[in-house]
């Protein structure tokens, strides 16, 4: 019930005084209430939870997280710590 999913806003309109929108989840589109994310507009990504956008996703912060982890990876390689590891790609479902 707490598993919000990020989706892209593709339409914004009003119903019964509420800011509503259509949100695209990688091809599946659903209606969501956008009243809690007044700053989010068409093209923005929001986390949708039981039909409500609860947070606008920050592109800058999203990139920063990945960058920090990639830097750990680079440092390890430089220090020659990158030994052979078992392949976990099967554990990590795609």
């Amino acid at each position: 019930m707490c598993l919000g999913i990020p989706g892209k806003i593709v339409a914004v309109y009003e119903t019964n005084g509420l800011r509503m929108g259509k949100v695209d989840f990688g091809g599946v589109t659903r209606e969501a209430c956008l009243d809690y994310v007044p700053e989010a507009d068409i093209g923005d990504y929001t986390i949708i939870h039981v039909g409500f956008a609860i947070s606008k996703v920050s592109e800058e912060d999203a990139q920063e997280t990945l960058k920090i982890l990639r830097e750990i990876a680079d440092i390890e390689e430089e220090l020659g710590m990158n030994e052979e590891y078992p392949d976990i790609s099967e554990t990590i479902e795609r």
Partner: protein, 366 residues
């Protein structure tokens, strides 16, 4: 999908796991609060990638699991009434009450409808003026903005045939209850990312400081979870205990202010009973007196409820992080997702359901 695929990058998950293994020097017990995170951890095998020093225990963040039995029994009684259309999030339908569940009430003729959004329940009330529409408003801080808005909408639209059966719970009081317990093993928390998207994480700073436990806001994808664990272990190894954010793309310190405003308009703080745990003071929300007209408990007098739990189920100890599903004698035997004895075996967020789905072999070997 953007913001999902890149956070399932196996290489990055492995690197973060290596970094955790590199910095850890002694054993630590971390609790992930949210059942959604428990499922992610099991599904992607994150626990198996961690060094042996790190133990993850699973927290009470499963709304379906902690909704008190009395309230499930009330829901069953209300949903059985012929004038009622009972609406609910789908996960609640198979949660066992004392003697039956919502599915069996529906099979016996009850008009029970699963809704995706609470606004769907409001729409059903608009379309069925001659019926009483009740919405089962349960959940943590994540569903509260949506549930509160359904009440506001019904009020704005002047709907007299809409009401809500409320059982809202809040995370911070439960975290404190766990830390205060003499049996507590938890040394750090991964805080629930989407609860914090709504509420921010300012509430956690005093808890981190008072109990000297790091609390790190953590997301749901494998990279997010590893990053949360890494940040937590860094604090533990350095002797720090602060509230920090490892899910910055969705969470800010102050949270979603418009959502908080609507929650505070409709709900106020109340004592709540948690299934399997007991009453935790000021641990939930109830309807404010101004919205008492929308209170299903007042509208339908449902007395004479005598709840009775299964004597085998140890869900309460599992929700407190004291035991794991494999410790239960009924796990996978008397208790399965098809015939659950406790709510932790039902929900897509329950720890027992996660173990049954992803770790059945391991548990049976033990």
């Amino acid at each position: 999908m953007k913001y999902i695929d890149e956070y399932r990058d196996a290489e990055l998950v492995k690197k973060a796991a290596d970094e955790i293994a590199r910095i850890v020097t002694k054993p630590w017990v971390l609790m992930e609060i949210c059942g959604g995170q428990t499922h992610s951890i099991m599904r992607y095998g994150i626990d198996q990638l961690l060094p042996p020093e790190i133990e993850l225990v699973h927290g009470p963040g499963c709304p379906v699991c902690v909704t008190p039995l009395e309230l499930i029994d009330k829901a069953l009684a209300i949903a059985s009434r012929p004038e009622v259309i009972f609406t609910s999030y789908g996960d609640m339908l198979r949660v066992p009450g004392s003697s039956k569940d919502l599915f069996s009430v529906r099979a016996a003729g009850g008009d029970i409808r699963v809704v995706y959004s609470p606004l769907d329940a409001v729409r059903i009330a608009q379309e069925n003026e001659d019926r009483e529409v009740v919405f089962f408003a349960i959940g943590f801080e994540t569903t509260a903005p949506a549930n509160a808005m359904s009440v506001l909408q019904a009020s704005t639209l002047g709907l007299s045939n809409f009401s809500v059966l409320v059982s809202h719970v809040c995370v911070p009081p439960a975290m404190e209850a766990i830390l205060s317990s003499p049996e507590n093993r938890v040394q750090a928390y991964l805080a629930a990312g989407h609860v914090c998207a709504v509420m921010g994480f300012w509430e956690y700073a005093p808890i981190a400081s008072k109990y000297q436990v790091p609390i790190v806001v953590t997301g749901f994808e494998p990279v997010d979870i590893m990053q949360g664990i890494l940040a937590t272990v860094k604090q533990l190894e350095n002797g720090q205990a602060t509230a920090a954010n490892a899910y910055a793309r969705a969470v800010t310190f102050e949270g979603n202010k418009p959502a908080q405003a609507v929650i505070n308009k409709v709900f106020h703080q109340v004592d709540r009973k948690w299934r399997g745990i007991g009453v935790i003071p000021k641990s939930g929300w109830g309807l404010r007196p101004e919205y008492a007209d929308f209170d299903a408990e007042k509208r339908f007098s449902v007395e004479d409820i005598h709840p009775e739990e299964s004597s085998l189920c140890i869900a309460g100890q599992i929700l407190l992080g004291l035991k794991k599903p494999g410790d239960c004698s009924a796990f996978g035997k008397e208790c399965t997702p098809e015939h659950p004895l406790g709510a932790t075996m039902v929900s897509s967020e329950g720890a027992c359901a996660a173990y049954y789905r992803y770790r059945l072999d391991l548990v049976q070997e033990q």
